[in-house]
Symmetry: C2
């Protein structure tokens, strides 16, 4: 794998990730690009205790451009895009319309392929491995930036979930604070350890993540895919109609700590999961909208070694043509209502496995 | 106000609320209605610590019926609906497709008017007062049911937010547990009290809700509407593009404890707010989708008297034709990104006040 770093016309960083070590990436961004105007601010909600990113100047960001004006396609004569090269494999660059910027964090865009009409599920295993390498490399580099507290690699796919650029891409956020969801998980892990110590003071410390995965493995009803180094299941209390959590069998805190065996098996496992997601609602349905979210340990948390790297993949579609909306109960009271029993979701995701 | 209780053909309760004390409500539901099949289960997420309602058998619920098959319109010869009467003012009945049922709770539907094409903002003050009386009465009755922990009156409005019946209506949920959002607020209130006691051991206990409202009142930049008995503001860390919190000036834990002066002023204030919401995006825009959520103290919480009844009103529209979606950052990490600064939202909501 070869990585080439460059800068765009307005000073933003861009990185090419190539499978060939002799790739040459010397294209220059010739656009007359004024500096980005985005400003961000983080505000704490005194009643809920969470942090909200107030990002002004983003309302003008690119919104559903026609395919021939896609800013994520390679540049060609007469049509310059965010990627100066005439082709690419995987490319990562700083978002021109970031919600987090400077002291509040950083937002990057990850293009998975230069093929505008593809999707992650269409990639080959080699390309998926290259994306994993890019996620891992960016996690390492963003961790080294002062002020970074947590790194979040994710993909939003589908217009139904608000994606405004059809070109296959994901994002990486470097937050300057530990996110509420991660705080909550770490609090549960700590409470579980404390309770077990109280019950058996001399015992080794149990880990909640390990226990959850072991319980799902033993139960089996919600297992979607059991590979040598990864296991995927619909969680017992799934929040979304179809939701899968993918864990490496050996617990590690983040992508950097994944061993070679898990890293080598990931492309096959992940592509299999994504392809099943596209088949869940039957032939003839448009591609399944989804969020794929990597959960990594925050960088400087005292109990970061107890966190378990995992990927959460879910769709907001609940049945062909119908979406799950977050309305009164979910948005007002944080109580999710799920109309698809997790056992039924897992069964369906097993049914649509490729032979 | 006159309340008349009756039952639908499958045994569900229905209540008419009428402004006239001589209203006669003796219509009988003649539909051949089999018992509802819905079953619900509450599952706790071990990592997030929240409760998810798994509600199967709801996928078949009524979904965008044509207007002439609206189940919330009054019944007429040859077309029997959920409301047996030929007309009504306000009516409340048990949902035929509840997410909470039996030991897990109860779901009710509140119809605000028998006019299919109206919306809450179109109602007169007398009707809004009757709805407030119905919310209050249902809160009292549901509180008396065994197992109820918290009562939630809310309205989802607009297809963009997932509403599948266009007839103006809201809902009431009686949860059998305290919701995560309310737990979080009460934890913040307790932490605030404890911190203040530590700083000044002899002092009276401060209340976080009181302090938040006083701070907004003193600051003024985010105030939307200041009436004699109510104050409405965009919160400092608003999560949604346009979000308003409406508090009675005298703190009370729930709707039952509202005094007569606040009760009398509410219809004018609330209708004013809803009408401003419809004007925010300019003339010619379709009605603003919104969630209006009453936050009430849980019933049996030791610190329930410290909770402050308030209404949270927000829209998912961020600009004409564009919605705010909850994707990677919000759904994956619980970090909201808000592109409309709260001060700008408040200014706009003041601009669109009626003269």
């Amino acid at each position: 794998m070869k990585k080439t770093a460059t800068r765009l016309a307005d000073g933003r960083e861009l990185f090419y990730y190539d499978s060939r070590d002799d790739a040459v990436r010397d294209a220059v961004d010739h656009r007359p690009l004024p500096p980005s105007q985005t400003a961000g601010e983080i505000r704490r909600d005194p009643l809920l205790g969470d942090s909200v990113v107030v990002a002004s100047h983003r309302q003008s960001r690119t919104y559903h451009p026609p395919p021939d004006q896609c800013p994520l396609c390679p540049s060609r004569r007469g049509r310059l895009t965010e990627i100066p090269a005439a082709d690419y494999e995987v490319v990562v660059f700083e978002n021109r319309f970031p919600s987090l910027v400077g002291a509040t964090g950083r937002c990057e865009v990850v293009c998975f392929t230069d093929d505008h009409d593809a999707s992650f599920a269409d990639l080959g295993e080699d390309r998926a491995a290259l994306v994993l390498a890019a996620w891992t490399d960016r996690t390492a580099e963003l961790a080294a930036l002062p002020g970074t507290a947590q790194i979040f690699c994710f993909e939003n796919r589908g217009e139904e979930i608000g994606v405004t650029l059809g070109h296959p891409h994901g994002q990486i956020y470097a937050y300057s604070f530990v996110t509420p969801r991660t705080e909550r998980m770490l609090a549960s892990v700590a409470a579980h350890r404390t309770a077990a110590h109280r019950a058996a003071p001399g015992g080794g410390g149990p880990n909640l993540f390990d226990d959850v995965v072991a319980r799902e493995d033993a139960d089996g009803r919600r297992i979607v895919l059991a590979a040598d180094h990864w296991v995927a299941f619909v969680p017992y209390a799934a929040h979304w109609p179809y939701e899968v959590h993918l864990y490496p069998r050996r617990r590690v805190p983040d992508l950097l700590a994944l061993d070679e065996a898990a890293r080598a098996e990931f492309p096959r496992v992940y592509l299999d999961l994504l392809r099943r997601f596209d088949r869940v609602f039957g032939a003839g349905e448009p591609p399944t909208p989804y969020v794929a979210a990597w959960h990594q340990a925050p960088l400087h948390h005292p109990h970061r070694s107890e966190f378990a790297l995992h990927l959460e993949l879910f769709t907001i579609r609940r049945t062909p043509g119908k979406l799950k909306f977050l309305a009164g109960s979910e948005s007002g009271m944080s109580v999710f209502i799920n109309d698809v029993p997790p056992e039924a979701a897992a069964e369906r995701l097993r049914e649509v496995a490729s032979e």
